[in-house]
Symmetry: C2
Subunit: 316 residues, 2 copies
């Protein structure tokens, strides 16, 4: 929102001294305060071990005429849905189907436009379960969270688990993925257990956190978000397209593991369970470069960037 | 994100009994608890006095080939910028200029693509000041806020002032507009007082509240948001378009007061200073229709819808 000649400003944000330390482990002792750095300086200081490759078994490529959307699946949170999604991709279920909904400030959704029509709907194919349990949350045991220092409001605690914005309730012992921009979930009907992963949506607006614990989330968009978020909005109820011609055809959705090595995305994502990531959060929590006259001193999980880089940039 | 045949669900949301009352006046006594209603039921129960017409002196029409974007200006918060914007519109300053930036999950920005080039930039015209004071906040005196019952995180208090999402710090006595989806602000350079309203942006993603108190906000989009939010993203730094051909031409930006009555938008917006609006907030804070298995019990100012209706629907 600043003028063009200050284009460097947005990427750079001098961080204040860390006032509220972040821990990569639940209840871990506070890390030693790092010196104030911009996000770019934090990333520049990263080591190879601060980055991770995507697991091909947890990576989905949504192929559109205009390019590829890379989605990371979260089997830690929705094992049954992710297993179904892998099978659906393996079967080529989505190939030739379409993006059917673009609801401004809410979601873009894809799947079978004829899913309500038993005579026309596409069969799921081999190894896909019609019915799954709801996977709205899971037990927190075994999940390490990089906890945000600021209150979340929607949940007792929020932070990052294995690269995903997440929330938890330590009293109940439950954890779940948070609905942020780019979060991918499984559409359902009225019944909690009516999703099976064949119909998916991605958040394209203000975080609809009221959906948390009400629907099964399966992952998030890692790259290519703009191919979904900038689709023309549907003019039917809830942003569904009113005519077939308005829908965006899906060339294919493939699991990276089913794709030849040479065709896979060569990218890495920043780990969220490191002291470096905690520094990155702080660099966004208190921006003190010349553009910002007043650092916020606060951040929300949905405002924390999750950097991606070309694997070629990897340091040895 | 639910399937198509449950399309009615999103608009309807049974509210729980009001647990935390909302007051339309600062520190006013709590209103009597209303019975649980959906947002639609709240709106259906509204009276003519719950709605307001837009003031033509505070309404801007951004005319694009694909339609009209209606923006409400907030002179209460940025009187000097709004005065300049009125003069710029009156002078036809933006007519023939363009939308130059579309930054995914952040902002769409418009103005003079040649603003950095003294030889080519368009003159502002009569009555427009080159230099204005920063208007990041104002004194709270005289502003009635419908306060949210939930903590905001970014500010000591948040709520709605005269139809705008806003925040305030009662200790300092300051109020300011919040950066939500649809908020319109004035682009600036490094200096706090380097904006004059000629370059404007609108938020198209997760609320960038870190911009609050760092930039002058001038209003919000009331209608036509999808004409801006679904623009193809720019591929240059910060989402600027790399070629002139990618920019969206602006046919005109006009102040409604300068537009003949017959051409003005016939719309009304829901007042935010009424008990009915407090009920609407609660209907979104705790959704209990069949789709939602667990009401959130929390809401953020940027998640509260600000309903608009055709003026023809007005009840006498």
């Amino acid at each position: 929102m600043h003028r063009k000649r200050t284009t460097a400003l947005l990427a750079l944000a001098l961080s204040a001294a860390i006032a509220a330390p972040l821990s990569a482990q639940p209840n871990a002792p506070a890390a030693a305060p790092a010196k104030a750095r911009t996000m770019q300086q934090v990333i520049d200081a990263s080591q190879a071990s601060d980055w991770r490759a995507l697991d091909p078994d947890n990576t989905l490529y949504l192929e559109l005429a205009r390019g590829r959307v890379v989605i990371e699946l979260a089997p830690q949170f929705a094992p049954e849905h992710v297993a179904n999604i892998r099978a659906l991709a393996h079967n080529g279920y989505w190939n030739g189907l379409s993006i059917n909904r673009s609801h401004d400030n809410y979601v873009v959704q894809w799947g079978d436009a004829d899913s309500e029509n038993p005579a026309k709907r596409k069969p799921f194919g081999k190894g896909v379960k019609n019915k799954l349990p709801a996977e709205f949350s899971r037990k927190s045991a075994g999940l390490a969270m990089t906890v945000l220092p600021d209150p979340d409001g929607w949940a007792p605690q929020a932070g990052f688990v294995a690269g995903f914005a997440a929330a938890r309730d330590s009293d109940k012992g439950d954890s779940w993925l948070a609905h942020c921009y780019g979060t991918v979930g499984a559409g359902r009907d009225l019944a909690a257990d009516s999703s099976n992963g064949a119909e998916l949506y991605v958040v394209i607006g203000q975080s609809p956190r009221h959906l948390d614990l009400n629907i099964t989330t399966v992952g998030r968009v890692i790259q290519g978000m703009e191919l979904l978020s900038a689709l023309p909005r549907g003019t039917g109820p809830l942003g569904f397209y009113e005519t077939a011609a308005e829908r965006t055809p899906i060339r294919a959705i493939r699991l990276a593991a089913d794709v030849p090595q040479a065709e896979r995305a060569k990218i890495e994502v920043l780990r969220t369970d490191t002291p470096l990531f905690a520094d990155l959060i702080e660099s966004r929590r208190n921006r003190q470069d010349d553009f910002y006259k007043r650092p916020a001193g606060h951040i929300n999980i949905c405002n924390v960037p999750l950097p991606v880089r070309a694997a070629a940039a990897a340091k040895s």
